[in-house]
């Protein structure tokens, strides 16, 4: 990886679309002075400082809030944790695919959130809670690692072909990962109900294990494995 200490210009091409003035989207070229350690978000901010009409979402700047999922040279990532030194110029930055564009890099994520909500993403208990904590062994707690860290950035679901083709029926990797997070929580008491809700040809079984979701997850999570675990449990349940 070429890396120099000084500042040097780098070419960017950014997807621009403004619903009030543009009839169709276009790519706009910018040049940014990049320096060592710079993240893509820093470059986008530098562009915005020059051209305030350019809109994108971002907040924490450290890969924890999940605001700034974007598509860069064809791959989804978080702008704030992607070093520009790893990108091939001209760097093409587009909104995450398959979602309606509100403006520039800002997409409408409602469907993604609805799918998340549809798996009842909260702990369900039938027994009354104890006075203290509900006990959970470290081994049971370990089951949640790789699941609870999801920041809902949408990088996975918006790069999943099954999600593009059946967005209204297939839940997509993020929602399925969330479903697994609750199915595998030893404290949750609605396992059977949760698995039943995933029955049918679409909600879960449209996943063809294409693995795009795993490749792009900025938190290193593995939705495909979670989906596999759900499938296995459903089979066991059915027997």
């Amino acid at each position: 990886m070429a890396q120099s200490l000084g500042r040097e210009p780098m070419k960017f091409e950014i997807y621009r679309y403004h619903p009030e003035t543009d009839s169709k989207p276009r790519m706009q070229a910018y040049e940014v002075e990049v320096e060592r350690g710079m993240m893509l978000r820093d470059a986008l901010l530098a562009i915005q400082a020059e051209d305030e009409t350019f809109a994108f979402r971002h907040s924490c700047g450290e890969g924890v809030c999940g605001s700034d999922g974007v598509n860069v040279n064809g791959v989804n990532c978080l702008a704030c944790t992607t070093p520009v030194s790893e990108l091939k110029p001209p760097v093409q930055v587009r909104p995450m695919p398959g979602r309606p564009v509100i403006r520039d890099l800002v997409v409408d994520m409602s469907q993604f959130y609805n799918q998340y909500q549809s798996v009842d993403p909260w702990l369900k208990r039938t027994e009354p809670n104890p006075e203290h904590e509900i006990r959970q062994s470290p081994a049971h707690r370990d089951q949640l690692d790789g699941l609870y860290e999801c920041i809902m950035c949408g990088c996975c679901s918006t790069s999943c072909p099954s999600f593009w083709w059946n967005p209204d029926k297939f839940l997509g990797p993020q929602a399925l990962l969330t479903a697994a997070r609750f199915v595998l929580d030893s404290r949750d008491q609605a396992t059977a109900q949760r698995l039943d809700a995933l029955e049918g040809p679409y909600k879960l079984f449209r996943c063809h294990t294409i693995m795009s979701c795993v490749e792009v997850c900025p938190k290193g999570l593995n939705p495909t494995r979670a989906i596999g675990q759900l499938k296995a449990m459903m089979l066991k349940d059915a027997v």
């Binding site: 403004h18 350690g37 009409t53 994108f56 907040s59 924490c60 999940g66 208990r125 809902m152």
Partner: protein, 586 residues
């Protein structure tokens, strides 16, 4: 202009830990609740909290709420209100259990109970051995809590306005707060939300400083909204600089790293905290550690080619401890500092982190203002979380006490709001004049023409604050800061937006945030200039001692005329004896 209006029983501005816990309390009350957040709820900055939340569960070492209370009072450098602190430390225990029941995936001990780690400023037995009081979900505790609270609110069917920005409160002639003026970011359309109570839960304002650990959205909006309707801000001079931010960037490296056994070294490889805090060492209070780092650097013992930082050493810990307890820290260090802490120390420098001060409230989350005889609640207005000041942190906050504060007081505000709405069941009449005053900032930014841009003004303000209201503060430096800030504020009136379009106009939002940053920046600078002593995070080389005779009191800054007022510290706890001020050594 006739604006669209909607009515709710109660309005909550902010969907971080404070706002969501309040909303959850109200969900089952039968009241209609609107939660407005400028970002999707799980993107609120509570998500970034790493280390954990304090509660004297005694799962790892002996503990009780009274020791927790002592540490908090001492940590506050005796500026915290002891009734509120007692209340918070007692409530901590049921609050953490409630969170666990809500689904928070806390790390666990072998017997299945919640894992607790050591954090700075914690002791057993009123200043004895180190305690382990911080309940953690690895080093992603804020994420775990925020997501669980959001999830529970989905279950409870809370009504969310996601990506709506609150501009101003609506406060009538009689001083009653009637809701807020908000805009939908996606469309740019304004809306009046009328509510019988309004809770400000807008979080911190770390963005007033250039190098900070805060999210881009932490611009002190709620604090500024309060100022603009005549409510003062309390103890704003007390701003916490966290000792371990990644040098040059400001991202936080949790105190949990030192709690798990990491320590700081200077260029000679010396563990210098042993000199400054022989007993607590690296786990002394944050103000103490930050000053020690600055002193090491000033005296030429900094590391790196520019001798501008110190090193946080972790590589002596077992890789498995790092993997299990500090996975997020390892990830951040690799990405932002380019070092893997398993093999190399992390370069760190103090970073602007947390506002101890804020909107003055009582123990029930009610916003209180001085009146002729003591103080009075502002009818219909509540505040909780980092934007509020209860005051439980006084002059210096202990790690792990902020998540606690936001959860305890968020929940309690929810309860009090329920009672208030029962007693005040009708919406009051909202006068057009009140709306006009509230919409002024929005209209002001519609002006065309040339002038300094928003990004440029924000940068200038941030550098000014860093230079003139940092870790060490002298009269001359601060006076110059206030003078420059006064000039800059005049220039702000000439600043202009280039983009006046409606759809998802982030420039407009940043302009409105800039107004807020100026209001809050001025509150910090003026409050700091007036306090002539060193206490907690407010450290003055020209007045190096704490002065309890003259200064054991809370400051109140008013926007009108930039004037100060003061009120006494509440030293009487609810049930136990007062902890009288003592020299603070660690």
């Amino acid at each position: 202009m006739a604006l669209a209006r909607r009515r709710f029983d109660t309005l909550i501005i902010g969907a971080g830990g404070a706002g969501l816990n309040a909303a959850l309390q109200l969900a089952n009350s039968g009241l209609s609740v609107a939660v407005v957040s400028k970002v999707f709820p799980t993107r609120s900055h509570t998500v970034a909290a790493q280390g954990g939340v304090n509660a004297a569960l005694a799962n790892v070492l002996p503990d009780n709420w009274h020791w927790h209370m002592f540490d908090t009072v001492k940590g506050s450098d005796y500026l915290g209100d002891q009734d509120a602190i007692e209340f918070m430390c007692r409530e901590a225990i049921p609050t953490v259990y409630e969170l666990e029941h809500a689904g928070v995936p806390f790390s666990r001990l072998p017997d299945g109970r919640i894992y607790q780690r050591k954090f700075g400023g914690q002791s057993q037995n009123f200043g004895g051995e180190q305690a382990a009081r911080t309940c953690a979900a690895a080093d992603r505790t804020g994420h775990a809590i925020l997501h669980a609270l959001y999830q529970q609110n989905l279950r409870a069917k809370t009504h969310f306005f996601d990506e709506w920005f609150a501009i101003n409160l609506l406060r009538d002639d009689e001083g009653v707060v009637l809701g807020a003026l908000v805009i939908e970011i996606a469309t740019g359309d304004p809306l009046i939300i009328e509510a019988k109570t309004t809770l400000l839960a807008t979080g911190g304002c770390g963005q007033v400083f250039r190098t900070n650990s805060n999210a881009h959205i932490n611009t002190g909006d709620g604090m500024a909204m309060a100022l603009r309707v005549g409510v003062p801000l309390m103890d704003m001079e007390f701003f916490q600089f966290h000792p371990t931010g990644i040098v040059g960037k400001g991202m936080l490296i949790s105190e949990g790293v030192r709690g798990e056994g990491g320590y700081l070294i200077n260029k000679d490889g010396e563990r210098f905290m042993e000199r400054y805090a022989p007993h607590a060492k690296d786990l002394a209070s944050r103000d103490v550690v930050s000053r020690s780092i600055m002193t090491e650097i000033k005296e030429g013992r900094g590391c790196g080619p520019r001798a501008d930082h110190v090193l946080l050493k972790v590589d002596h810990l077992d890789e498995s401890v790092i993997a299990k307890r500090l996975p997020g820290i390892r990830e951040s260090s690799k990405i932002f500092a380019g070092v893997d802490p398993v093999y190399e120390p992390i370069p760190v420098f103090p970073t602007a982190h947390y506002s101890m001060g804020g909107i003055p409230t009582d123990r029930f989350g009610r916003v209180v203002v001085p009146e002729r005889h003591g103080e009075e609640a502002v009818p219909g207005l509540y505040a909780a979380g980092e934007c509020a000041c209860a005051s439980v942190h006084g002059a210096n906050r202990l790690g792990g006490n902020s998540l606690l504060d936001i959860l305890v007081f968020g929940r309690l505000a929810g309860k009090d709001i329920r009672d208030y709405v029962r007693e005040n069941p009708y919406h009051r009449n909202l006068d057009e004049a009140v709306v006009e005053a509230a919409i002024a900032p929005l209209e002001r930014w519609e002006q065309g023409g040339e002038g300094p841009g928003v990004a440029e003004m924000r940068g200038t303000l941030q550098r000014l604050m860093e230079d003139h209201a940092g870790v060490f503060r002298t009269e001359a430096v601060m006076q110059e800061g206030v003078d420059k800030l006064t000039d800059l504020r005049e220039r702000l009136a000439g600043a202009r937006l280039r983009d006046h379009s409606k759809a998802f106009n982030t420039a407009r939002i940043q302009a409105l945030e800039l107004d807020n940053l100026f209001d809050v920046g001025m509150a910090i600078a003026v409050s700091a200039l007036h306090r002539k002593e060193s206490r907690g995070a407010h450290s003055r080389p020209d007045y190096p001692e704490r002065d309890d005779m003259q200064w054991m009191k809370h400051s109140l800054y008013f926007k009108a005329g930039d004037v100060m007022d003061y009120k006494p510290v509440r030293t009487k706890p609810l049930t136990v004896e007062t902890f009288p001020p003592k020299p603070r050594v660690y």
